[in-house]
């Protein structure tokens, strides 16, 4: 199932499929280790417009709600 990052629930794992929203956002995410085809796990979901907390490559990254909406992910069963 393909959806956007902010919709995932706590504990769900997914693979990054696409990052919308331009060059700057991709660079910023890339610097923190978030790339196309990377696996991530949601530690705290972005409910009520709050940021999403993910674990990726062994680090924790907080991503603002608006940015999370631009990250397309495929949920793993």
């Amino acid at each position: 199932m393909i959806t956007t990052l902010e919709k995932l629930k706590d504990g769900m794992e997914a693979v990054v499929k696409e990052i919308h929203g331009g060059h700057t956002l991709r660079q910023r995410l890339g610097g923190l280790g978030v790339h196309h085809q990377d696996r991530l796990k949601v530690l705290r979901s972005g409910f009520f417009g709050g940021p999403v907390l993910i674990e990726i490559h062994g680090t924790q990254v907080g991503i603002g709600h608006g940015m999370a909406q631009k990250i397309l992910v495929e949920v793993e069963r």
């Binding site: 610097g31 990254v61 991503i63 603002g64």
Partner: protein, 641 residues
Amino acid sequence: MMKIALVGQPNCGKSALFNSVAGYKTIVSNFPGTTVDYVTSPVSVNGDSFTLIDLPGIYSLSTSEKEELLARRYLIEEKPDLVINILDASVLSRSLELTLELLELKIPLVICLNMIDEAARKGVEIDVEHLSEDLGVPVIPTIAIRGKGVPELFQAAIDTAKNRKTGKTYFLSLDVERAISELAGLLGVDAPGRLGVPARVLAIKLLEEDEEFERAVREIKPGIINHVVRLRRVLSECHGRPSDVVVSSERHSLAMNLFEHVAKVKPRTVKPFRKQIDNYLMHPYLGYVFLAAILFLFFWLVFSFGKHIEEPILALFEQLAAFLGAHLSNESLVFTVINGLIQGFSGGIGIVLPYLIPFLLGLSLLEDIGYLPRAAFLMDSIMHAIGLHGKSIIPFVLSYGCNVPAIMGVRIMERNRDRFITAVLVTLIPCAARTTIIFALVAFYLGPTRALMLYLLNIAVIGAAGKILSRFLPDVSAGMILEIPSYKVPRFSSVVRKIWFRLREFVVIAWPLLIVGSLILSLLEYLQLSGLINEILSPFTSALLGLPPEVGITLIFGILRKELTIIMLVQALGTSNFAAVMTDGQMMVFTVFSLFYIPCLATLGMLRSIIGTRGMLFTLFFNTAIGALMALAFRSLYSFF
């Protein structure tokens, strides 16, 4: 002297490494024309001396962040003799991406594999020799915060700087390399030479849509841009993704391969204790309860501790002044000067010892433990409402105690824009001294409800001011992306060093201002100029705001130290029963204006050091304008009743 630069991603322990060798000659400098700073220190290891430069933390050399661009520009333009690339060994695969970019710059390089203990705790075992072979540069494992491996690291750095050894170049996939070499050939030697980077780096960065390099090349060699655009299109058509993604993904997978080649990860079954803390501190609801409790406790500890110490200290200085007054003639110029100096000096002590040290201790602890990014995460959506970032909550809360440490605290934010807006807004918050004005005039004479209303109004004004400022300085960042590092046990030496550095800043910048300001005010009194000042200010104070003209001088004293406002008001009006000489409206108008207008001298000094002279002047006018507008609004409001 030889120059060695420290480069690493944020939270890699770069500052801990710097601090473990930097001496008392450490200098904080600004990048030309900016308020972004970097730190340098002369260091000498086994008879070799060099200048060590601690650059701002950078995630990548492909960036549009101002601070990261400045660090990159430093590497390219200043050409350090060697770069020590610090890697957080516990997040090796991600850290290696920056290393690959640094290798391409062909500056002699040494890898500091830091936090090797943290990696072991995570179950990551790294084959250091293998990594060194793969990269072609020395790799030294360290635990910088305990000084472990640091002598070996600097010895390797000096040796490598002397033999000018650069590491291997990594090749990307064939079609990308083809595009790179075609572009590098077209660029020739002139453009890369003038920009100070190898042709290969310039070609890669152009394919990555790097704005800064593109702008530079457009000026030097405009004809090449068509080729750049064509090659980018070729890459993106072949891969079905934008060309910058093609290049960065390749670098990413190279780093992943390297990581798999040199590291073994043992799966861990037990969830570490440090991660479990976050079940509470980052909980969707409980997290906020803990955040409020931690901030309240922090605030309360700092200011209850401060009060107990401040009073005896100030009493001591008052005795000294009284003693001098008894021995020197109370009216003499010598006494005036000495008394002014003592006032300024004790004012400094009255801020530093009781408030600044406990505040800096608390802030350093929260920072070193790793709680600050978590607070920022929790507060992010709320602070966004006024165009700010979650981290700004810390200076805001502390500002209710004293604006000075709060302004120092804006350094925890990375972006200049966020620092600027937060620093300006923080000065609008009523500190402990301004609280005394609210209490003495409004709460006492007009009732606590009105005082509470003033606090709420203050928050609303700050919100509105934040909105206005962020309209003029829009948030260009794409929103919050924030690394949440794992919790760490703070080290005593690191905390002490941080306190010392920040304290030194206050002593050098704000204290002299307090002393000079006190001296000037003493002289004003001696020369009996208060009448003249009241007269000069009267068009504003009495004509515009409808206040008794005698209050003019108290506002001037208030700029020196807000605590003096009420004391001077008693003196100026000749009574402490304010209601007898001022109407309700006048008391309200005076309080409102005092609440917002020019921040105190110490705050102005700190502002100047952090957001620059222009930023300080802006704050001065901005706050005074808000103060005047609000005071006028209250004057007309009270004229109806």
